[in-house]
Symmetry: C2
Subunit: 182 residues, 2 copies
DNA sequence: TTCGTATGGTACGAAACGGACTATGTCAAC
DNA sequence: GTTGACATAGTCCGTTTCGTACCATACGAA
């Protein structure tokens, strides 16, 4: 059996380990739904990877797999002791980089010398709307969490999301209100 | 000659058109340096693409190419009339999505139930440091721009960067000061 | 003439993407 | 108990991106 150290794990690998760690025994489909509600906001990737990746991790001894006996015979994965150790090792090593972002609207803003002021205002207003929608979504997650007993640490990321949305709303509102001259 | 409309252009394609539009005639290497100083902050991608992409765009008639006669015989690209039109069409269509981000530290925060409080504080302090460094870089760009006569629109994105850095600094400082219980 | 270094460019296997497509179970109605 | 509709669950595969190690060229200094 290849050891965990022999192969470089990607962030997505740790994401899978982490989610299974938090949720307990999970099928790929469980992960797919959990991802779309949670981590996809700060680590997006295609769901098709959630079908291959667990088997790779199982091959490395980080997950154990057993198949459901009835129904769809889905594959159910659980963290092994080594898997938990790998996960704990990873969370203890702070990354030496900040987030990476891709923002088409800012790209257009950077090239806004090729558009009219009206177009720039339209862009800004539209971004404002989109960020407000997302902010509302985050706020409803946060307030729903207040009622149920969701773990505080797991919720912390939502508060970062809220701050970021507010920063973006302020910025784009300012652009709309007072568009920079070319 | 295939028309521009026949092929779907990626954001990276528009980025190349846009940079050449702003800078005028450019070689791939010029673009590589310009990218690393500017747009890579909000649209990162490997520099190797800057060698293939211009030829693709030239094939579509959006760029014109001529080779330097002496020295390295580098390829020099200029925006054609069609290229400028494609760029202008693109900047006028506001995206219907907000930025996409990938943040390893937030991933670790989300899984922070697997770490001690000390480790969480260490993570937060480290992020705070990194964000402050980046903030300083953005501020020096902004203040350098105040002196030289850099276009206001081109600079606007830096101010968003500054707001984002501040939001992140505030968040991580708060985590460090008052780490959430598990 | 060579050497060192910054400049400039290439190549290519490995991952990631993404979205269309297929299959499976469940439950309600007949 | 058979049908059909719908939500669930999973697969497939061609296309793009990635990333980074490596190669090549110019040019000034010694």
């Amino acid at each position: 059996m290849p050891t965990a150290a022999a192969v470089r794990l990607s962030p997505t690998s740790y994401l899978v380990l982490g989610l299974i760690g938090l949720r307990g025994a999970s099928t790929p489909y469980d992960l797919k739904r959990a991802v779309s509600r949670t981590v996809s906001y700060f680590w997006p990737f295609p769901h098709s990877q959630l079908y291959g990746e667990p088997d790779r991790l199982a091959g490395m001894g980080l997950l154990s797999r057993k198949d459901e006996s009835g129904g769809r015979h889905r594959k159910v994965y659980t963290l092994t002791k080594e898997g938990r150790r790998a996960l704990q090792g990873w969370v203890k090593s702070p990354p030496d980089e900040i987030f990476e972002m891709r923002d088409i609207a800012v790209l257009q803003l950077f090239f806004s010398e090729f558009m009219s002021e009206d177009d720039l205002v339209a862009l800004a207003l539209n971004q404002g709307r989109l960020y407000r929608e997302r902010l509302a979504a985050y706020q409803s997650i946060a307030s729903a969490a207040g009622e149920t007993r969701i773990k505080r640490r797991r919720m912390a990321s939502v508060h970062l999301g809220i701050r970021m949305m507010n920063a973006c709303i302020d910025f784009w509102d300012e652009v709309a209100k007072n568009p920079p001259e070319p």
